[in-house]
Structure formats: structure tokens, C-alpha cells
């Protein structure tokens, strides 16, 4: 190993949302002089407005810092920031793969959370050196001793060795940097071997195309090399390579152990897939880096422009979003109620919300999204299996044998006080209890098998409110299971509204039908005719409400002067209704389609 390589440290920060990951990253950048104090914008790494606002990291980021350690040597530190949400577990695993060490940041007041643990296990799987850190020790509510004890219980790090810092004030951050130098191993690296570089993230640049963020494991990547993407099976020229400082800093070569970027006139981020391995086109590595996976959307929803003429705008926006976010999948579909739109696949509900918000903010598109659903396996009478992403594609009648749905293995970590509440919640969501472990005297881990469909709704919010915000939750998809699922249709004046169909468990169909119909009754304005709203399974109506007809809508006086005024009033009313969707002759406001999203409570 060269001296250069022995002075590289590649590490990431693992933390639960709000435990101070971004603040710590900011402090590291400042102390190492990577960013001058006066240029400090809060949370430098969270580059999307949305990330800054929500305090969630959505994309992985990386930044290189130079640090002169106590031993007098200059070290290169590559900090790889990881997404902070369960929807992005795969991206997290690739970012961890690029590191040798991880800072496990725990809020000294809140303690360990489920997400921290799940990421910790991921880090352990990758054999990372874990440096536990208690953050926010300056808070009055901090209980560092108690939290340090649970850290000891969890990973065996002696409680008294756990670092205590305040990322906000900078207290203890110097010591932390020294720990990184001392404890995180330098990359094991062979610069002579055939090139193997792992893509741990990619972003799309309007002018440069796809930019791959890579960690070189073996070999040396030089400027202008011809490179080959092993999973994408594409060849490009490395037109520019370099290091990730505050901006991109071009370099002549990236050696084994380095973290940097590669640009190569790559028009589509789908060619720079997270987890793919870059090698040389002529001297190929025999094996790619293990662990590449196609990212598969888990949650699907219809996305429609609120006015039909914006369909092409929506298509263009989704295309552009996909350049940045290869996890989005979409296909055109049509709905009798909503017109032309797309069935869009997301990694999870947070991902779905993010995409919706980006469509709204960055593309200024007014959209309607339908009730999200998971991907079902429909088993036909002949034994054939059909994968269904849209409830309306479930075959009718005797073609259908049964439906299988995805289950997840979920872990809930909660103070013991709330076990009862949370077990009830899991049971209500058709959960299957697996295990219960005490992490320490106060905190318990519950393990459940839960249908994914039951947690994509408001599960997380319910979990938080039932535990006063203390419980945390994480899951991974486990298997498909046969369930007693039915398709619930909503009919308005006898016409089924495809955009409101849902696949639900039979035991919940009645309640869901009742809630949906009564909510729709509130949202559909009275019209010239009575409007019947029904919920039905097949031909069996299980709930019904009626919107009374308007009995009187007539201007009494239409005297001379009133004509312009009256006309304008009516014009305004008509323009207001233009935004409504038509189901048969019934005018249904867009809110009705959106409101069902907030059902479930």
C-alpha cells in the first residue's frame, strides 16, 4: 500500500432523522477548512431544497476533506452521506459498501431508534468499523450515560469509550476526527489490478449528463480511459474524472481507495445505476463488486394531470425526474374518471411524496394521485401468476383463484410503556407477531410480519402518535403470501370510478367502504340530480350514501342592471366546475380523489 492510500479514510454517518447527521457533516467541513465559516449555509450536503426543508437526505452525497491530524500527517477524509429513510435502504447499503468506517450518531436525548439499528446492522454486514457518537450532549434533556449504556448493550462498545459531542457547538468534534483517523482502517487497495469502481450514487447534470459518484476498489481510473459499466453493459469514455470537494475538482486519475466522480457524456442515469461496477473496457475485471440489485418500486399510484391538456407536460416532467432518480418507474395508463395519466412506481410512501412535491415545485404541475397500492400477485384458475400494479387489472370472476400480497419483516423499537398500544396497532394491521427483545431496561424491540399494504398508509404516523413520538420503525420486504383480498369498487350513480378502486383485505372491506362513501358524500357537492355513492365487492353493495339533489338554484330577479353581474357570477361558477372530473353526469371535485389518500384514520 502506498503512503497516499494509507492516509485515506472513507467513512459515512449513520443516524436517525433529526439526530444531527447533517449538522455534524457541516461541522466537519468547517473544522477541516473545506468550507469557510462565512460560506456555511446550513446543511451544505443537503443540496435539494426539499432535503433542507424536510431535514431528510434523499440522495447520497460525498465530499472530500483534508485534515492534518495530531500525528502531523495530512489525511484525506471522504465523507459519504447516506439517505435517511427506509425507502432508500438499498442506496444506503451501496454507500456503506464504499466505506471502511461509520460514525453511528445517536441523539443523547432520544436514544437508539429502529432506523439507527437497521443501518447499523447494514454497516456491520459490510464489516465497517463503527464509531458510536452521542450527539446533542449540550441539550438539557440529554442523558448521555443512559444512552451510552444502551450502545454498550447493542454493539459492545464500552460505555465510557463512547464519544460525546455537540455537532451544533462543535464540542468534541476534534476528538471525533482523531478517532476516525485512528480507528477507521485505510482502504485495502491494489492500484495495479483490473479496475473495479463502485457507483454509490449518480446525479444528472443538465449540461454534463449523468455523473457517477464512485469508490475505486481496485485498479486506477485515468482521464480519457475507455470504461465499461458491467450491469448496464455500456461502454463510455471517462471524459472527466475527479474528486468531490465542495464542487467537482477534475483530476488526472482516481486510484484504488479514492472516492470521486466520473463524467462520460452519459445521457441517461439508468446507465449509471447505483451498485453497478465500472471497469476498463479493454482490461475488464473478471467479477463485478457483489451486491448489485435492480431497484424495484414497491408502491404504485396513478398520477394524472389535473387538467387533461397537461398530459404531455407530465410525461416530460416524469422523464426529467427519472434522469435524476432512476428508482422511479412509470407507464402510461388511462382512467375513465381522470383521463390520461401514468402508473408510477415508487420505493415507498416517502419517495412518492417527494416525487409529488418535486412535480409540484420544480415542474409547477398540478396533479392528482390515486390511492397508492402495492404490487400484487394474482393467481389465475389455471395456476398462471399475473403481477398487478393497478387494482383495475385484477381479472374478474372465475378467472381469479387467489391473490398474494407482499409481507415485510418489520422492527418496532419503543419504550416499554407503549408496547400494548403498538402491539394492538400491528394486530389491527394484520400483523403476525414474531419476537420481542429488551434492548435495555426501557426499550423493547418488537418484530412483526406485516402486509406491506397495511404500512404504506398512515402506519408510521399512527406509530408515532401511539407512542408520543418515541417509537421508531423499520422494515424490509420478506415474501409474498396468499391473503383473502378483494377488490373494492366505488360506484357513483351506478358508474364504477376506476380511480377509486382498491384492493383490500376482506375483513376491512366493509369499514373501508363505509368510510370512503361517507367521505365522498362530504366532498361531492350537491348537484341537479341525486347522487348515489356505493361501495361494492363485485356485484355486492356493502355501503351506500346519497348526496341530495339541489332543490333550488334560480336567480329571483334578473333586472336590467343585473345581467352583466349575473352572467359573470355564473361564468365564475362554471369556471370553478371546469376543474371537476366527470363520472357519468356527476361532477366530482378533484379533492375527492385526493381525500381518499388521507383515509384510514
Amino acid at each position: 500500500m502506498s503512503t497516499k492510500q494509507s492516509r485515506i479514510r472513507n467513512f459515512c454517518i449513520i443516524a436517525h432523522i433529526d439526530h444531527g447527521k447533517s449538522t455534524l457533516a457541516d461541522r466537519l467541513l468547517e473544522i477541516t477548512g473545506t468550507v469557510a465559516h462565512r460560506d456555511m449555509q446550513d446543511q451544505v450536503l443537503d443540496s435539494m431544497d426539499l432535503e433542507r426543508e424536510r431535514g431528510i437526505t434523499i440522495k447520497s452525497h460525498a465530499i472530500q476533506m483534508q485534515y492534518t491530524a495530531a500525528d502531523g500527517h495530512l489525511y484525506t477524509l471522504n465523507l459519504i452521506d447516506t439517505p435517511g429513510h427506509v425507502d432508500f435502504t438499498y442506496e444506503v447499503s451501496r454507500a456503506l459498501k464504499a466505506c471502511e468506517g461509520a460514525l453511528l450518531v445517536i441523539d443523547a436525548a432520544q436514544g437508539i431508534e429502529a432506523q439507527t439499528i437497521s443501518n447499523l446492522f447494514l454497516a456491520l454486514e459490510h464489516d465497517l468499523e463503527i464509531i458510536p457518537v452521542l450527539n446533542k450532549v449540550d441539550l438539557p434533556s440529554a442523558r448521555p450515560d443512559w444512552v451510552a449504556m444502551s450502545v454498550e448493550n447493542l454493539i459492545g462498545e464500552p460505555a465510557e469509550d463512547v464519544l460525546a459531542i455537540s455537532a451544533k457547538t462543535g464540542q468534541g468534534v476534534d476528538t471525533l476526527l482523531e478517532s476516525v483517523i485512528r480507528r477507521v482502517p485505510p482502504p485495502a487497495a491494489n492500484s495495479q489490478a483490473p479496475l473495479r469502481a463502485l457507483i454509490f450514487d449518480s446525479v444528472f447534470n443538465q449540461y454534463r449528463g449523468a455523473v457517477a459518484y464512485v469508490r475505486v476498489f481496485e485498479g486506477t481510473l485515468r482521464h480519457r480511459d475507455e470504461i465499461y459499466f458491467m450491469a448496464a453493459e455500456r461502454t463510455y469514455a471517462a471524459e472527466e474524472i475527479g474528486f468531490l470537494r465542495l464542487g467537482m475538482q477534475p483530476a488526472k486519475e482516481l486510484q484504488a481507495g479514492d472516492v470521486g466522480y466520473v463524467i462520460g457524456s452519459i445521457k441517461d442515469v439508468r446507465d449509471t445505476r447505483v451498485g453497478d461496477t465500472i471497469t476498463h473496457a479493454r482490461r475488464r475485471a473478471s467479477e463485478p463488486i457483489v451486491g448489485f440489485r435492480e431497484v424495484k418500486p414497491m408502491v404504485f399510484s396513478g398520477v394524472y394531470p389535473s387538467s387533461t391538456e397537461h398530459f404531455e407536460d407530465l410525461r416530460a416532467s416524469l422523464e426529467r425526474l427519472q434522469l435524476n432518480d432512476s428508482a422511479i418507474g412509470y407507464e402510461p395508463e388511462t382512467s375513465a374518471a381522470l383521463g390520461f395519466g401514468f402508473r408510477v412506481g415508487f420505493l415507498g410512501l416517502l419517495h412518492m411524496e417527494i416525487v409529488q412535491e418535486r412535480l409540484d415545485r420544480e415542474f409547477d404541475l398540478d396533479i392528482i394521485t390515486t390511492l397508492p397500492n402495492v404490487k400484487y400477485e394474482v393467481v389465475l384458475t389455471g395456476g398462471a401468476v399475473k403481477v398487478v400494479e393497478n387494482p383495475n387489472h385484477v381479472p374478474r370472476g372465475n378467472m381469479l383463484d387467489h391473490i398474494r400480497e407482499p409481507y415485510v419483516k418489520a422492527e418496532v423499537i419503543t419504550p416499554a410503556d407503549y408496547i400494548g398500544n403498538l402491539m394492538k396497532l400491528c394486530q389491527d394491521r394484520r400483523g403476525e407477531f414474531r419476537n420481542q427483545t429488551y434492548l435495555d431496561q426501557e426499550r423493547v424491540s418488537l418484530e412483526y410480519f406485516l402486509p406491506l399494504a397495511e404500512i404504506i398508509f398512515d402506519f408510521y404516523d399512527r406509530l408515532k402518535s401511539l407512542s408520543r413520538g418515541y417509537a421508531s420503525f423499520d422494515y424490509e420486504v420478506a415474501e409474498y403470501r396468499r391473503s383473502d383480498l378483494v377488490k373494492l369498487d366505488i360506484l357513483i350513480n351506478g358508474d364504477p370510478v376506476d380511480a377509486l378502486s382498491a384492493i383490500v383485505h376482506r375483513s376491512k372491506a366493509f369499514e373501508m367502504g363505509r368510510k370512503l362513501t361517507s367521505r365522498l358524500k362530504e366532498l361531492i357537492p350537491r348537484q341537479m340530480f341525486e347522487v348515489a355513492i356505493q361501495a361494492a365487492i363485485g356485484s355486492r353493495v356493502i355501503a351506500r350514501t346519497t348526496v341530495r339533489a339541489v332543490r333550488k338554484d334560480v336567480t329571483a330577479k334578473c333586472y336590467g342592471g343585473d345581467i352583466t353581474r349575473k352572467r359573470k357570477l355564473l361564468e365564475k361558477q362554471k369556471a370553478g366546475k371546469k376543474r371537476m372530473k366527470h363520472v357519468g353526469s356527476v361532477e366530482v371535485p378533484q379533492e375527492a380523489f385526493l381525500a381518499v389518500l388521507s383515509m384510514g384514520q
Binding site: 341537479m528 332543490r551 333550488k552 334578473c558 333586472y559
Partner: protein, 386 residues
């Protein structure tokens, strides 16, 4: 030109007190109206410059309360109209009257100054209802005025009544209709109480002092009026208007037919087919003080002007004609404004026809009795998409 004739509306913006539901322009507390009549005469000269060849077909004095004007003022005003604009032989000359102004002498004198049709604002025969509406008369005055007007020697007269008051039981409305029809007024205007913005009534509703009648209750009252009056010999020829044969209000129909109608006085609206610009509508300032100032200095009191496109004219024609018993003249709509209603709004027509709200016959599309309750919704549905 489509229409060379004209009608004239004169606004008399004086009232004793403010009716709780009223959103017309008026002032209270004025006693001397001669200066106002002077101003009207000046404005008539401005209107004369529009150059109508024909004398006026109709004149309508509305308010406000025209019966606040003294006979001398009325005489001066109508003489000015005659000399400045000219009045056609047999023209309908209507004046609105409030019951408290209807002394025998006053009513008798109206004929002599040229008023041949009276429109009496009774609104109700019940004191509590009149008080609720803050009318300036009571039930006894209402009865007495009706007799005075019925015996006043007019060619025709009309009575205004209001239904759908909060908590008005159907029997009350039935009794009002009974008392009204007992006097055989040739014309009846029956209005549903409307809660207009910026009225005392709206403020009471906002403060939860008044709960408006439910729409199904108002609908029932309206249906009672339609059925009762029809049975007793009145023709329901416009949403709120009922007439015995030969007694339809001619002036009002000018508005519904897009015929030229001039307006004089503050807030008055005029509609005219301009030979160059086509159909125009304009209105005067909604302030007596500013109106007087403008007219006195020889300036135009107009503060809003609108040029109506064929599409707007078509939309208005649909809205207005739908209010009439005959309905929408489909050929006229197509030939004049290029709207082939049965094609462009085919879906809405079919749905509403099946729902029994409209009927189509003899080249007209009209409301059924059921449809009359939903006139505005039907209009909106029929309007071609903008």
C-alpha cells in the same frame, strides 16, 4: 341595425328606510327631489345624442322608491322625456309604488302625468314578515294600497310579493297568495327572498341571527306559487313573473330579448346596439353625489362600459331566454351567434332532458316546472365550454 327602438329606465334612488334584503342603489333622508329631476333632464339630453329615430316604446320608473317623488316632479320629468326622447303612442309607462305613498289623491294623479301601469311593492300581508324585511309599511297599508291601485284607473298593474322567508310556514305563503289573488292583479311578481352580499340581511345571517330557509322549503313555496297562480288564471311567463292574458310586462321583456334599453340615474344600466361597435352595455356611477356632479358639469355619468362579443351575447341569450315560458330560440341562437346548442351541449341536453328538467319542442328549448327551480344550474350546463 337589429333594433332601432328603445325603452327607458329611470332610477329613483330615494327611500324612507332600508329594506333588509335590498341591494339596489338608494339613499335615505332626501326630501327635496327637484334638483335630482333637473339632473335627470340633463342626462336625458345626453342620451338623446345616441340618436334613436323612434320614440320610446316603454318607460319604467324604478327604485329606490319612485313614489317618493311629488306629482309635480313626476310631471316635469315625464314631460321632459316626452319632449327630449319622444314617447310612442300607447307606450307602457310603469312606475313602482310603495304602499305607504298610495294616498287616493296621489294614485289618481299619476294617470294625469302619463303613468299607465303601476307596480306595487306589497311583499307580504303579515306585519311580522314586513318588519323582518324592514319595510316602511304595515299589512293594513298594504291592503289599502292594493285597493287604491286596483281602482286607480291604470291600464294594468303588478304586485310584488316575496316568499321563502326564514321560518315562513307554507300556510303563510298560501294565505299571502290567497289574499293577493283576491284582488285579481293583472300581473304578479313573486320573488324568492335572496340574501345578497352587503345587505343587512346578509350581516344578520353572518352573525347567526337569521337562518335562511332551506332550499327544499323555498322550492316548495315556489312550486305552490306556480301551481296556485296557474290554476287561478295567471300565466307563468318568466321565472318570477305571472300575468293574466295580455298583461305581460313589456319593459322587462326588452331586457330578456336584448332590445335597446336606456337607463338614467345613478347605477342605471343601458344596453344598446351601436351601429359600429355592436351590442354595448354601460352603467352609471353608483353614487348620487357623483352622478349630480357629472351631469351638472356636462360630463357623462357612465363608469362601466362593456362591448359584448357574439359569444357573450349568445351566453346571455341562453341565460335570459331560459327564464321565459317560450324558452331558448334555437334557430336564432345559431343564426345570430353561431351556437348550435343541441350539438355543442348535446351531453348536457340529453342528461337534463332525461332528468325532466328541460324540454325541446318547436325549435325552442325550455325549462319544465322542475327545471325552473334549477334555472341557474341548467344555464351553466347548457353554456358551451369557455
Amino acid at each position: 341595425m337589429i333594433d332601432a327602438s328603445a325603452g327607458l329606465y329611470i332610477h329613483v334612488p330615494f327611500c324612507r328606510q332600508r329594506c333588509s334584503y335590498c341591494d339596489f342603489y338608494f339613499v335615505t333622508g332626501q326630501r327635496d327631489h327637484s334638483a335630482y329631476v333637473d339632473a335627470l333632464c340633463l342626462e336625458l339630453r345626453q342620451l338623446a345624442e345616441l340618436g334613436f329615430a323612434q320614440p320610446l316604446q316603454t318607460i319604467y320608473l324604478g327604485g329606490g322608491t319612485p313614489s317618493r317623488l311629488a306629482i309635480e316632479d313626476l310631471d316635469r320629468l315625464l314631460s321632459a322625456v316626452q319632449s327630449i326622447l319622444g314617447v310612442a303612442e300607447g307606450a307602457e309607462v310603469t312606475m313602482e309604488l310603495n304602499p305607504e305613498d298610495c294616498s287616493t289623491a296621489y294614485v289618481r294623479a299619476l294617470g294625469a302625468v302619463g303613468i299607465n301601469r303601476a307596480s306595487l311593492g306589497i311583499q307580504s300581508f303579515f306585519d311580522d314578515e314586513l318588519q323582518f324585511m324592514n319595510r316602511s309599511h304595515d299589512a293594513v297599508q298594504a291592503q289599502r294600497a292594493l285597493i287604491q291601485v286596483a281602482e286607480g284607473g291604470f291600464n294594468s298593474f303588478s304586485v310584488d310579493v316575496i316568499f321563502g322567508l326564514p321560518q315562513q310556514p307554507p300556510e303563510r305563503w298560501a294565505a299571502t297568495l290567497d289574499q293577493l289573488t283576491a284582488y285579481h292583479p293583472p300581473h304578479i311578481s313573486a320573488y324568492a327572498l335572496t340574501i345578497e352580499p352587503k345587505t343587512p340581511l346578509m350581516r344578520m345571517v353572518r352573525r347567526n341571527l337569521v337562518t335562511p330557509a332551506r332550499d327544499d322549503v323555498v322550492a316548495t313555496h315556489y312550486q305552490m306559487a306556480i301551481e296556485t297562480l296557474r290554476l287561478r288564471g295567471w300565466e307563468h311567463y318568466e321565472i318570477s313573473s305571472f300575468a293574466q292574458p295580455g298583461h305581460r310586462a313589456v319593459h322587462n321583456q326588452r331586457y330578456l330579448n336584448h332590445q335597446n334599453t336606456l337607463g338614467a340615474g345613478p347605477a342605471a344600466v343601458s344596453f344598446c346596439h351601436d351601429p359600429e361597435l355592436g351590442p354595448m352595455r354601460w352603467s352609471n356611477v353608483r353614487s348620487l353625489r357623483r352622478y349630480l356632479k357629472c351631469v351638472a358639469s356636462g360630463q357623462s355619468p357612465v363608469d362601466f362600459r362593456e362591448r359584448l362579443t357574439p359569444a357573450t351575447m349568445g351566453a346571455e341569450r341562453i341565460m335570459l331566454s331560459l327564464r321565459t315560458a317560450e324558452g331558448i330560440p334555437l334557430d336564432l341562437l345559431r343564426d345570430r351567434y353561431g351556437i348550435d346548442l343541441l350539438t355543442v351541449s348535446a351531453g348536457a341536453v340529453r342528461t337534463m332532458q332525461q332528468g325532466g328538467l328541460i324540454a325541446c319542442e318547436g325549435g325552442f328549448l325550455r325549462l319544465t316546472d322542475r327545471g325552473k327551480h334549477l334555472c341557474d344550474s341548467v344555464t351553466e350546463q347548457l353554456w358551451p365550454s369557455m
